[in-house]
Amino acid sequence: MPTLADIKAADLDRVWFDTARGLAELAQGPAGEIPVRFSNDFAEARVAGDLVVNGSRPVVAVRASDAGPLKRGAGLVVRGVSYRVASVQPGDAGQMLLELERA
């Protein structure tokens, strides 16, 4: 009988990282194309006490099985934009979050 972890892992492949249905998209990593779930929402940085710098915060979710080569500093091209992995955040159920910075 499959465990809950097995079911979640299967869902990752069948649902959450399904590029054919548009739930994920392909990105170019160091070891080839991998499916990612990408977001790039508004973010602001407050610096020097009173200054605000507007920008965005790009993040991708990847399957843990694809994350091996994506160490901090590794390159990743998403939607034609080159990024570097700034932070690797382990998650559960076989998924990891990678914070990106512009290369």
């Binding site: 610096v47 507007n54 920008g55």
Partner: protein, 156 residues
């Protein structure tokens, strides 16, 4: 005439308005957010003023009444988003400190306007809240100028 503080800011914007590293990317004030696009073009300088202290202990009498020394904290911040290297932050600090020192020499802008300036503190920090690592070198300067009581617009 503008308030002495505004005159100091204007003078500093002129003196620091075209340094080798920050070029003409200089903003005075802090009303609006800075956009990523502006920083992508190269490091920037932001100039604004914070607290001011009036030295009543050191007040003197002059022909226009009581003469007061005012000491104004000026923040000059260099913002760097094209590199995460502290070397650039220190290069900005070097250019700012040298330009301000030169401006206090005889015949130069600050000396002519009767404004003194000296650095108090420097802080270099990193911020990774947005898509490029942002490095900030924050320099706090103390600017001094004298005015007659009730005439903060006329630097003596």
């Amino acid at each position: 005439m503008m308030h002495g503080r505004a005159q100091v800011r204007t003078l500093l914007a002129t003196i620091l308005g075209n340094l080798p590293t920050t070029g003409t990317r200089v903003i005075v004030g802090r009303n609006y957010p800075i956009n990523d696009d502006e920083l992508a073009a190269g490091p920037m300088l932001a100039i604004y003023t914070r607290d001011e202290r009036v030295d009543y202990q050191g007040a003197t009498m002059g022909p226009d009444g009581v003469i007061l020394l005012r000491e104004l904290t000026v923040v000059i911040a260099g913002l760097i988003k094209t590199t995460d290297d502290d070397v650039v932050a220190d290069q900005i600090a070097l250019e700012v400190e040298q330009a301000l020192f030169a401006a206090t020499q005889p015949g130069a802008a600050l000396r002519t306007a009767n404004v003194t300036i000296g650095i108090e503190t420097t802080s270099i920090s990193a911020n990774v809240d947005t898509d490029r690592a942002l490095r900030v070198v924050e320099m706090n300067f103390l600017a001094g100028y004298r005015v007659a009581e009730g005439r903060p617009d006329r630097l003596l």
